[in-house]
Protein backbone atom coordinates (compact mmCIF):
# COMPACT_ATOMS: atom_id res chain seq x y z
CA UNK A 1 0.00 0.00 0.00
CA UNK A 2 1.36 3.41 -1.00
CA UNK A 3 2.05 5.79 1.85
CA UNK A 4 0.07 9.02 1.79
CA UNK A 5 2.20 12.12 1.20
CA UNK A 6 1.67 15.88 1.21
CA UNK A 7 0.42 15.90 -2.38
CA UNK A 8 -2.27 13.32 -1.55
CA UNK A 9 -3.45 15.18 1.54
CA UNK A 10 -3.58 18.48 -0.34
CA UNK A 11 -5.50 16.83 -3.14
CA UNK A 12 -8.13 15.63 -0.67
CA UNK A 13 -8.44 19.09 0.84
CA UNK A 14 -8.76 20.78 -2.55
CA UNK A 15 -11.40 18.31 -3.67
CA UNK A 16 -13.35 18.99 -0.47
CA UNK A 17 -13.26 22.71 -1.25
CA UNK A 18 -14.31 22.26 -4.87
CA UNK A 19 -17.99 23.09 -4.44
CA UNK A 20 -17.20 26.13 -2.34
CA UNK A 21 -14.50 27.61 -4.55
CA UNK A 22 -15.26 26.78 -8.16
CA UNK A 23 -17.84 29.04 -9.78
CA UNK A 24 -20.75 26.91 -10.98
CA UNK A 25 -20.92 26.37 -14.73
CA UNK A 26 -24.35 28.00 -14.86
CA UNK A 27 -23.20 31.45 -13.66
CA UNK A 28 -22.93 34.40 -16.00
CA UNK A 29 -20.04 34.01 -18.39
CA UNK A 30 -17.28 36.64 -18.30
CA UNK A 31 -17.93 39.54 -20.62
CA UNK A 32 -21.72 39.25 -20.50
CA UNK A 33 -22.26 41.79 -17.77
CA UNK A 34 -25.60 43.55 -18.02
CA UNK A 35 -26.08 47.27 -17.73
CA UNK A 36 -25.53 50.37 -19.74
CA UNK A 37 -21.96 51.37 -20.48
CA UNK A 38 -21.19 54.50 -18.54
CA UNK A 39 -19.16 57.00 -20.51
CA UNK A 40 -19.03 59.65 -17.84
CA UNK A 41 -16.76 58.19 -15.22
CA UNK A 42 -14.73 60.77 -13.43
CA UNK A 43 -11.06 59.94 -13.20
CA UNK A 44 -10.72 60.44 -9.49
CA UNK A 45 -13.30 59.14 -7.02
CA UNK A 46 -12.41 61.93 -4.66
CA UNK A 47 -13.81 64.37 -7.21
CA UNK A 48 -17.18 62.65 -7.05
CA UNK A 49 -17.21 62.60 -3.29
CA UNK A 50 -15.96 66.16 -2.97
CA UNK A 51 -18.48 67.54 -5.43
CA UNK A 52 -21.49 66.24 -3.56
CA UNK A 53 -19.95 67.09 -0.20
CA UNK A 54 -19.23 70.65 -1.32
CA UNK A 55 -22.76 71.15 -2.58
CA UNK A 56 -24.19 69.82 0.63
CA UNK A 57 -21.88 71.96 2.75
CA UNK A 58 -22.86 75.06 0.82
CA UNK A 59 -26.48 74.48 1.67
CA UNK A 60 -27.39 73.74 -1.89
CA UNK A 61 -28.68 70.35 -0.97
CA UNK A 62 -32.15 70.36 0.46
CA UNK A 63 -34.68 67.61 0.88
CA UNK A 64 -35.65 68.30 -2.72
CA UNK A 65 -32.02 68.20 -3.72
CA UNK A 66 -31.81 64.68 -2.39
CA UNK A 67 -34.28 63.72 -5.07
CA UNK A 68 -32.26 65.57 -7.66
CA UNK A 69 -29.03 63.85 -6.65
CA UNK A 70 -30.64 60.46 -6.76
CA UNK A 71 -32.50 60.79 -10.03
CA UNK A 72 -31.59 57.69 -11.90
CA UNK A 73 -30.18 59.41 -14.97
CA UNK A 74 -28.29 62.01 -12.96
CA UNK A 75 -26.60 59.73 -10.46
CA UNK A 76 -22.94 60.32 -9.89
CA UNK A 77 -21.16 57.23 -11.17
CA UNK A 78 -19.31 55.17 -8.59
CA UNK A 79 -15.74 56.24 -8.04
CA UNK A 80 -12.77 53.93 -8.10
CA UNK A 81 -9.27 53.64 -9.51
CA UNK A 82 -8.95 53.10 -13.26
CA UNK A 83 -5.81 50.99 -13.15
CA UNK A 84 -5.20 48.15 -10.73
CA UNK A 85 -2.93 45.16 -10.25
CA UNK A 86 -3.88 41.56 -9.43
CA UNK A 87 -4.13 41.15 -5.67
CA UNK A 88 -4.58 44.88 -5.13
CA UNK A 89 -7.30 46.13 -2.82
CA UNK A 90 -9.38 49.03 -3.98
CA UNK A 91 -12.28 51.07 -2.66
CA UNK A 92 -15.44 51.79 -4.63
CA UNK A 93 -17.74 54.59 -3.53
CA UNK A 94 -21.14 55.16 -5.00
CA UNK A 95 -24.67 56.29 -4.31
CA UNK A 96 -28.26 55.85 -5.32
CA UNK A 97 -29.01 52.52 -3.63
CA UNK A 98 -31.79 51.80 -1.16
CA UNK A 99 -30.64 52.48 2.41
CA UNK A 100 -29.54 49.28 4.11
CA UNK A 101 -29.58 47.32 0.87
CA UNK A 102 -26.86 45.01 -0.39
CA UNK A 103 -24.52 46.20 -3.14
CA UNK A 104 -22.84 43.49 -5.20
CA UNK A 105 -19.57 44.11 -7.01
CA UNK A 106 -18.51 41.80 -9.85
CA UNK A 107 -15.46 41.59 -12.04
CA UNK A 108 -16.30 40.24 -15.48
CA UNK A 109 -19.48 38.77 -14.05
CA UNK A 110 -17.82 37.06 -11.08
CA UNK A 111 -18.64 38.42 -7.64
CA UNK A 112 -15.65 39.94 -5.85
CA UNK A 113 -17.33 41.80 -3.01
CA UNK A 114 -20.42 43.24 -1.39
CA UNK A 115 -21.30 46.27 0.71
CA UNK A 116 -24.30 47.55 2.61
CA UNK A 117 -25.71 50.99 1.85
CA UNK A 118 -25.77 53.64 4.57
CA UNK A 119 -28.94 54.02 6.62
CA UNK A 120 -28.12 57.22 8.49
CA UNK A 121 -28.53 60.66 6.89
CA UNK A 122 -25.34 62.60 6.29
CA UNK A 123 -24.19 66.18 5.81
CA UNK A 124 -25.55 69.44 7.20
CA UNK A 125 -28.85 68.87 5.42
CA UNK A 126 -29.17 65.31 6.67
CA UNK A 127 -29.67 63.76 3.26
CA UNK A 128 -29.90 60.09 2.56
CA UNK A 129 -28.34 59.58 -0.85
CA UNK A 130 -27.88 55.86 -0.71
CA UNK A 131 -24.12 55.94 -0.30
CA UNK A 132 -22.04 52.82 -0.08
CA UNK A 133 -18.35 52.00 0.23
CA UNK A 134 -17.14 48.63 -1.05
CA UNK A 135 -13.60 47.41 -0.42
CA UNK A 136 -12.74 44.73 -2.93
CA UNK A 137 -9.62 42.91 -4.08
CA UNK A 138 -8.77 42.28 -7.69
CA UNK A 139 -8.32 38.47 -7.80
CA UNK A 140 -4.71 37.38 -7.97
CA UNK A 141 -5.37 35.37 -11.10
CA UNK A 142 -6.79 38.28 -13.11
CA UNK A 143 -5.02 38.59 -16.43
CA UNK A 144 -3.59 41.93 -17.55
CA UNK A 145 -5.84 43.94 -19.87
CA UNK A 146 -9.31 45.49 -19.92
CA UNK A 147 -11.96 44.19 -17.52
CA UNK A 148 -15.44 45.28 -16.50
CA UNK A 149 -16.54 46.05 -12.97
CA UNK A 150 -20.29 45.84 -12.43
CA UNK A 151 -22.08 47.19 -9.37
CA UNK A 152 -25.70 46.29 -8.73
CA UNK A 153 -28.14 47.27 -5.99
CA UNK A 154 -31.82 48.16 -5.57
CA UNK A 155 -32.35 51.71 -6.81
CA UNK A 156 -33.20 54.21 -4.04
CA UNK A 157 -36.06 55.62 -6.11
CA UNK A 158 -38.20 52.55 -6.69
CA UNK A 159 -36.25 49.46 -5.63
CA UNK A 160 -35.67 48.22 -9.17
CA UNK A 161 -32.22 46.95 -10.05
CA UNK A 162 -29.63 49.67 -10.51
CA UNK A 163 -26.63 48.58 -12.58
CA UNK A 164 -23.45 50.58 -13.00
CA UNK A 165 -20.46 49.42 -15.00
CA UNK A 166 -16.90 50.60 -15.28
CA UNK A 167 -14.01 49.48 -17.42
CA UNK A 168 -10.72 49.09 -15.63
CA UNK A 169 -7.24 48.22 -16.78
CA UNK A 170 -5.45 45.46 -14.91
CA UNK A 171 -1.71 45.80 -15.23
CA UNK A 172 0.90 43.10 -14.81
Amino acid sequence: MTREVFEDRLHSQLTALYDELVPPASTTEPGTVRGRPNQHWLRRPVVVVSLVAALAAAGAATATAAGVFTEREKLMPPGMADTLAPGEETRIKGMGCEPGSQVVVKLDGVQIGTAVTETQPEGPNQLILGWYVADVTIPVGTTPGQHVITITCPYIGDGTELVETKEITVIS
Binding site: R3, V5, F6, E7, R9, L10, H11, Q13, L14, T15, L17, Y18, L21, V22, P23, P24, A25, P30, A85, P86, G87, E88, E89, D108, G109, V110, T137, P139, V140, G141, T142, T143, P144, G145, I171, S172
Partner: protein, 199 residues
Protein backbone atom coordinates in the same frame (compact mmCIF):
# COMPACT_ATOMS: atom_id res chain seq x y z
CA UNK B 1 -9.15 11.73 -19.11
CA UNK B 2 -5.54 10.96 -20.04
CA UNK B 3 -6.21 12.00 -23.61
CA UNK B 4 -7.43 15.46 -22.68
CA UNK B 5 -5.10 18.43 -23.07
CA UNK B 6 -4.36 20.69 -20.13
CA UNK B 7 -6.44 23.38 -21.80
CA UNK B 8 -9.39 21.01 -22.13
CA UNK B 9 -9.08 20.09 -18.46
CA UNK B 10 -9.24 23.74 -17.41
CA UNK B 11 -12.14 24.38 -19.78
CA UNK B 12 -14.03 21.51 -18.14
CA UNK B 13 -12.97 22.25 -14.58
CA UNK B 14 -16.26 23.90 -13.64
CA UNK B 15 -18.21 20.82 -14.64
CA UNK B 16 -16.70 18.44 -12.11
CA UNK B 17 -13.91 17.89 -9.57
CA UNK B 18 -12.42 15.02 -11.57
CA UNK B 19 -10.95 17.55 -14.02
CA UNK B 20 -9.34 19.43 -11.16
CA UNK B 21 -7.90 16.15 -9.87
CA UNK B 22 -6.34 15.33 -13.21
CA UNK B 23 -4.91 18.85 -13.66
CA UNK B 24 -3.55 18.70 -10.12
CA UNK B 25 -1.98 15.28 -10.69
CA UNK B 26 -0.22 16.49 -13.81
CA UNK B 27 1.13 19.73 -12.38
CA UNK B 28 1.56 19.50 -8.62
CA UNK B 29 5.26 18.61 -8.94
CA UNK B 30 5.80 21.57 -11.22
CA UNK B 31 4.10 23.90 -8.73
CA UNK B 32 6.19 22.53 -5.86
CA UNK B 33 9.24 23.36 -8.01
CA UNK B 34 7.94 26.89 -8.52
CA UNK B 35 7.55 27.22 -4.77
CA UNK B 36 11.03 25.88 -4.06
CA UNK B 37 12.50 28.52 -6.36
CA UNK B 38 10.72 31.28 -4.47
CA UNK B 39 10.66 30.33 -0.80
CA UNK B 40 13.39 29.04 1.47
CA UNK B 41 11.36 26.86 3.84
CA UNK B 42 9.05 23.90 3.38
CA UNK B 43 6.12 25.55 5.18
CA UNK B 44 5.98 28.48 2.77
CA UNK B 45 6.38 26.17 -0.21
CA UNK B 46 3.47 24.06 1.05
CA UNK B 47 1.32 27.16 1.55
CA UNK B 48 2.31 28.37 -1.90
CA UNK B 49 1.25 25.10 -3.54
CA UNK B 50 -2.08 25.14 -1.69
CA UNK B 51 -2.67 28.78 -2.62
CA UNK B 52 -1.86 28.21 -6.29
CA UNK B 53 -4.44 25.44 -6.61
CA UNK B 54 -6.99 27.43 -4.64
CA UNK B 55 -6.39 30.19 -7.19
CA UNK B 56 -6.75 27.73 -10.05
CA UNK B 57 -10.24 26.99 -8.74
CA UNK B 58 -11.31 30.54 -7.91
CA UNK B 59 -9.74 32.18 -10.99
CA UNK B 60 -10.68 29.59 -13.57
CA UNK B 61 -12.73 32.17 -15.46
CA UNK B 62 -9.56 34.13 -16.17
CA UNK B 63 -8.06 31.33 -18.26
CA UNK B 64 -8.30 32.09 -21.95
CA UNK B 65 -6.69 29.45 -24.21
CA UNK B 66 -6.44 32.04 -26.95
CA UNK B 67 -3.89 33.93 -24.87
CA UNK B 68 -1.56 31.08 -24.07
CA UNK B 69 -1.24 27.53 -22.82
CA UNK B 70 -2.61 26.23 -19.56
CA UNK B 71 0.90 25.82 -18.21
CA UNK B 72 1.81 29.41 -19.07
CA UNK B 73 -1.36 30.53 -17.27
CA UNK B 74 -0.37 28.40 -14.29
CA UNK B 75 3.05 30.05 -14.19
CA UNK B 76 1.46 33.48 -14.36
CA UNK B 77 -0.87 32.52 -11.54
CA UNK B 78 2.05 31.19 -9.50
CA UNK B 79 3.99 34.41 -9.94
CA UNK B 80 1.02 36.45 -8.75
CA UNK B 81 0.41 34.15 -5.78
CA UNK B 82 4.05 34.36 -4.71
CA UNK B 83 4.02 38.14 -5.01
CA UNK B 84 0.78 38.32 -3.04
CA UNK B 85 2.19 36.04 -0.33
CA UNK B 86 5.14 38.37 -0.04
CA UNK B 87 2.82 41.34 0.22
CA UNK B 88 0.46 39.37 2.41
CA UNK B 89 -2.45 40.54 0.28
CA UNK B 90 -5.67 39.97 2.15
CA UNK B 91 -7.16 37.52 -0.30
CA UNK B 92 -4.18 35.22 -0.07
CA UNK B 93 -4.25 35.40 3.68
CA UNK B 94 -7.87 34.35 3.44
CA UNK B 95 -6.86 31.41 1.28
CA UNK B 96 -4.17 30.44 3.75
CA UNK B 97 -6.69 30.47 6.55
CA UNK B 98 -9.01 28.33 4.49
CA UNK B 99 -6.32 25.87 3.44
CA UNK B 100 -2.93 26.02 5.13
CA UNK B 101 -0.63 23.81 3.10
CA UNK B 102 1.92 23.69 5.89
CA UNK B 103 -0.53 21.83 8.11
CA UNK B 104 -0.45 18.95 5.63
CA UNK B 105 3.30 18.38 5.79
CA UNK B 106 4.67 15.45 7.77
CA UNK B 107 8.31 14.85 8.63
CA UNK B 108 9.09 12.94 5.44
CA UNK B 109 7.38 15.55 3.26
CA UNK B 110 9.35 18.22 5.03
CA UNK B 111 12.66 16.57 4.19
CA UNK B 112 11.59 15.97 0.60
CA UNK B 113 10.56 19.58 0.03
CA UNK B 114 13.74 20.83 1.72
CA UNK B 115 15.76 18.85 -0.83
CA UNK B 116 14.02 20.67 -3.64
CA UNK B 117 14.59 23.97 -1.88
CA UNK B 118 18.31 23.21 -1.62
CA UNK B 119 18.46 22.27 -5.30
CA UNK B 120 16.82 25.56 -6.28
CA UNK B 121 19.16 27.80 -4.27
CA UNK B 122 20.58 29.60 -7.32
CA UNK B 123 17.16 30.35 -8.78
CA UNK B 124 15.95 31.60 -5.42
CA UNK B 125 18.92 33.95 -5.17
CA UNK B 126 17.96 35.48 -8.49
CA UNK B 127 14.33 35.66 -7.42
CA UNK B 128 15.30 37.49 -4.25
CA UNK B 129 17.38 40.00 -6.22
CA UNK B 130 14.42 40.61 -8.52
CA UNK B 131 12.32 41.98 -5.71
CA UNK B 132 14.09 45.33 -6.15
CA UNK B 133 12.79 45.63 -9.71
CA UNK B 134 9.51 47.20 -10.74
CA UNK B 135 6.48 44.90 -10.70
CA UNK B 136 6.27 44.64 -14.49
CA UNK B 137 10.01 43.98 -14.96
CA UNK B 138 10.06 41.46 -12.13
CA UNK B 139 7.10 39.48 -13.44
CA UNK B 140 8.64 39.10 -16.88
CA UNK B 141 12.13 38.23 -15.67
CA UNK B 142 10.72 35.86 -13.07
CA UNK B 143 8.92 33.80 -15.69
CA UNK B 144 12.01 33.61 -17.88
CA UNK B 145 14.95 33.38 -15.47
CA UNK B 146 13.30 31.59 -12.56
CA UNK B 147 10.66 29.44 -14.26
CA UNK B 148 12.40 28.89 -17.60
CA UNK B 149 9.64 30.12 -19.92
CA UNK B 150 10.65 31.34 -23.36
CA UNK B 151 10.31 35.11 -23.89
CA UNK B 152 7.35 34.55 -26.20
CA UNK B 153 5.59 32.29 -23.69
CA UNK B 154 6.26 34.80 -20.91
CA UNK B 155 4.87 37.59 -23.09
CA UNK B 156 1.71 35.57 -23.74
CA UNK B 157 1.34 34.85 -20.03
CA UNK B 158 1.54 38.53 -19.18
CA UNK B 159 -0.63 39.64 -22.10
CA UNK B 160 2.03 41.82 -23.71
CA UNK B 161 3.50 41.76 -27.21
CA UNK B 162 6.72 39.94 -28.01
CA UNK B 163 8.40 43.21 -28.88
CA UNK B 164 7.36 44.80 -25.60
CA UNK B 165 8.63 41.72 -23.77
CA UNK B 166 12.03 41.89 -25.44
CA UNK B 167 12.42 45.58 -24.68
CA UNK B 168 11.34 45.04 -21.09
CA UNK B 169 13.60 42.01 -20.78
CA UNK B 170 16.72 43.92 -21.86
CA UNK B 171 15.91 46.65 -19.37
CA UNK B 172 15.11 44.22 -16.57
CA UNK B 173 18.25 42.14 -17.09
CA UNK B 174 20.37 45.30 -16.98
CA UNK B 175 18.80 46.40 -13.73
CA UNK B 176 19.03 42.95 -12.20
CA UNK B 177 22.66 42.65 -13.24
CA UNK B 178 23.44 45.97 -11.56
CA UNK B 179 21.57 44.89 -8.42
CA UNK B 180 23.35 41.55 -8.18
CA UNK B 181 26.77 43.03 -8.84
CA UNK B 182 26.22 45.64 -6.16
CA UNK B 183 25.57 42.84 -3.68
CA UNK B 184 28.54 40.76 -4.90
CA UNK B 185 26.40 37.97 -6.33
CA UNK B 186 27.14 36.37 -9.72
CA UNK B 187 24.70 37.16 -12.49
CA UNK B 188 23.32 34.07 -14.24
CA UNK B 189 24.28 33.92 -17.91
CA UNK B 190 21.69 31.29 -18.85
CA UNK B 191 18.37 30.21 -17.45
CA UNK B 192 18.92 29.33 -13.86
CA UNK B 193 16.30 26.64 -14.03
CA UNK B 194 17.34 23.11 -14.87
CA UNK B 195 13.96 21.60 -14.13
CA UNK B 196 11.17 20.84 -16.50
CA UNK B 197 10.47 23.39 -19.19
CA UNK B 198 6.86 24.42 -19.61
CA UNK B 199 4.96 23.19 -22.61
Amino acid sequence: MDGLSDEALLASLRTGPEYLSEFYRRHVARVIGMGARRFNNAEDVADFVANVFVEVMTSIDSFDPARGSAVAWLYGLGGNVAAAMRRRASRTVDAERRLAGRALLDQDDHARVEERIDAAAAARQVYEAMQALSESDRQLLELIAVDGLSPSAAAATLGISGIAARVRLVRARGRLQATMRSTGRPFPTQHTVKEEAPA
